[in-house]
Symmetry: D2
Subunit: 307 residues, 4 copies
């Protein structure tokens, strides 16, 4: 089952909602089409940016069904199954497999902080039972533990574990993974923070799972391609635009969730989907929305036309 | 709905299981009867010691039904509804109300770390919709945020929020809550760590939600009564026994989950219930079980007969 | 050298300064006399509240000389020798011994976070070379590491280590120390946070090293005496006053250093010493000083006359 | 005073000692000559790797004098003046200026965790009084606070603040600094972690302050030059060697200080200087030294001849 040939830009899709219990189904379809038109190499739903943990279980299943049906095999869909209950993770993975997803993604269970031996046991039990290939997900800020490089190295030997997304921002960690695993066929390393996709790809990463690609998919695809081609002048020019997104769209209001709020608000301004956020997050206030509008106008001007 | 007259020792009951997906129903009934025979003033299911986060949603519902039916109104039952999804918390709370529970308990959503204003919004939305009185649950080690005293003070004004369990071990925090809220009728402050129940109750706390009371309920009830009576000599003598439990039964193997493992193993040794732990935890190995047996023998000798 | 008969209230004295390099020598003398008149059982200089780490080495030596000369043997003086350089700690300890101090106090070196074995080595090397008895100082918020109970237990066997001051606020930690060491003659456990002195002393602590005793020494001495006498009604009444100090005098401006700023400002308002704070702290602005004046007036009214 | 034209590899030199109070003066001279022969672009003494915080003040002054005299102007010398006392930092800076150092480096005061406004005040007061240009030093793991990008941006406007060394490993942070400050003439951004020098320099950093350059100076200089030349194939090949150093020489014994221990031990094995470490660190045991010998042999073989 190894050797999933996935690489490139795989946006961690936000979850369009109309209220705490209801998907914005039309907005979801529009967003999927927008991303595919933008040239992304895959879609990752129900990650951190997808606010999976804030959604009731049945909504996670409904979203999986809707996105897979909309994508209809045009690009791979990855489904986040992160949960504190291994059984709920498996239920969602079985749903994902039924719907035609290409793989699943799981961060460690995030209530108790597991030890490294507990992580080994947990991921092996999970991978043994999964109907789809598994990507590990390192997300210490929310999960409280790091998947240490030696733990990842041991898990990478499992036939059903095919890669890792790192959202730590710690490039010493990521460079250590590249050194230990970078040449292992069938194990792919992705970067969460879009600020780091270029440098990671130049040194061996498979791609980026970058939130900003929800709004500006062409920009991130172009950055990925320039990095892959080792075109350093073009990388610097595109990196500047990505940094402009990060330092403006993600910093309105200075919430811990400002990035998600900013992305949803930008998509709403572009007429793509609702900007509702489920608890414990709330959508931007009117004054913050006005700030986002000014930011998006500046960024559209800087970045140029998107799909 | 305020003025729930709950005080005393309310054990955070472990969840007897036979495997990752199956309740040990007979063990659960025996454990409930053991606790009631031990004189506890209430039972709290699906807390941290109850490993709620590791259980599939349907198991949490099944356990609620079974415990409420077994208790049958003899003492109050509190049900932990902590979840990252507000909707799943409400579903479980509605189940708890149907089954006759006395109240529910909720720690903050624990994936994203919410800010204090987000916590106010979240708890007000939750309490507005709940069919039962709500106890707040401060558990920063797992949740990453503290319910700050000024946040608690504001939430305590909500007619449906009736108390708080503090598991932080930070007695400056707890003394601040006692100072701000200790004289507010209808708002009760409970201590999670059993090492602190005595000093807390002497200075105004309503009681203890103490894991060790799963195994030695009479000891903790006696400690609570001595503290309430300001019988300081008896408090010191009983505190010594409680410290003996904490420093021996909870320290085998030096896992983060050693306390839960030790309690479940002790209950298995006493013939009460299975010692299975759901992922990411694992039950003790044979050599560790032997250590627990020796510990329990010493403690039984020190503490004297329990029910 | 063991069995230093020290117990009671030992204020962690602030360091009166006129600027970043100059002691307020007159203010220092007035403050020492104020504390002695207030009935304190000892004085601890150059702790966290004394801002020792912000002072040049020669100022620490000058302060030691001045305070010891002023006290002139009326009560014991403890000198904080915490430093990242063991040699600087020893130099200051030799000065303290020359000046007639009763003991020294040392938190772990606080740049690199030492492991527990490194702490054992460090403290043994220090205690072997010291000319005075040593109190350990647990201060994890500044030092990043905790002196774990088993480390303390092993260090308590050293003939030159005679006690510990715990400023962690973690009463599970402190109760564990009391259980392991509470009955060891010649090893005394003190509480840093004044919110916890009463409950600690009732259960076996030797006293409190409480910042508020700089301003209201009689209040803290009275609280200690009530706790020692197990007079719980009086404890509750005095605890209420102490909590009033903590929640008003220490919270102006919401700086991490608000407690030190508040204490120095209150002493300045009372005409005792200058309120200058060395870098990285700054004294209160005029508007904050006005708030402190209102707070001190209310507290003086609540607490009653001090020396 | 701006526009210090410093860039390239500037090893954070270890401090050769024969015991806790005595410099290994001969070893220091040999090490300086070894580094200059290795082609480094500058030398940084009394940083974290230099264990400055463990040294008595007079030793820091003595080392400054010795290194500056040995270098004798051949390359720039930077002197770490990080201290919790602003006055001690200034005293050492004045010594550094007398001795002919090119600049000084200061992390925030590291006992109390300062707020960002306190950091602004502190660094402005320091830079105003300094006789030499100042490099900021971001080292959150030891200091507990981050110099936030907006704080750095404001400090970069000070005529006496000329750059920053970042040892956080957080490349989102570093990319944000590059975006905000990368084009500011006279402000240079250096990377502490050697794993990140290549990617940083390719995207605009001025160089690396990398511990491994104590042992393998030519390797790090070559990596820097390849990155500056955008020779990505050569970068990858040299990065592999650097990662081999990091994952073997720095991981013997799994101490927090394993990197410093490993570097000092390797230099001792190469006959350059003593491997003594001051408290709270200890030199490697014989069995660990044997492991380091095997590691160094393998690395020498992999990396090829050094000076």
């Amino acid at each position: 089952m190894k050797k999933l040939p996935l690489q490139g830009i795989i946006p961690p899709m936000v979850t369009p909602l109309t209220d705490n219990e209801t998907l914005d189904r039309d907005g979801t379809v529009r967003l999927v089409e927008y991303l595919i038109a933008g040239g992304v190499h895959g879609i990752f739903i129900l990650g951190t940016t997808g606010e999976a943990q804030s959604l009731a279980c049945h909504l996670r299943h409904e979203l999986t069904e809707l996105v897979c049906a909309t994508v209809a095999g045009r690009i791979p869909v990855l489904v986040g199954i992160t949960d504190t209950s291994l059984e709920e993770s498996l239920r969602l993975a079985r749903k994902a497999a039924e719907c035609g997803a290409a793989g699943v993604v799981a961060a460690p269970p995030y209530y108790y902080a597991p030890s490294q031996p507990e992580l080994l046991d947990y991921y092996r039990a999970l991978a043994d039972a999964l109907p789809l290939p598994l990507y590990l997900y390192n997300m210490p800020v929310h999960v409280k533990v790091t998947l240490e490089p030696q733990t990842v190295r041991r898990l990478a030997a499992h036939p059903n574990i095919v890669g890792l997304k790192d959202s730590s921002s710690d490039m010493v960690y990521f460079q250590t993974l590249l050194y230990l695993l970078g040449d292992q066929p069938g194990f792919a390393l992705f970067l969460g923070p879009e600020q780091l996709t270029a440098e990671g790809v130049m040194l061996g990463a498979a791609g980026g799972v970058n939130g900003g690609a929800n709004v500006f998919p062409r920009l991130y695809v172009a950055l990925y391609e320039a990095a892959l081609a080792h075109d350093l002048e073009r990388v610097k020019s595109l990196q500047y635009r990505v940094m402009a997104v990060c330092t403006s769209l993600y910093t309105v209001g200075r919430y811990a969730s400002s990035a998600i709020k900013g992305i949803k608000c930008a998509l709403w301004l572009k007429g793509i989907c609702n900007d509702y956020l489920p608890y414990p997050h709330r959508r931007f206030l009117a004054s913050e929305r006005a700030q986002v509008r000014a930011v998006v106008d500046r960024l559209d001007h800087l970045i140029g036309s998107e799909p």
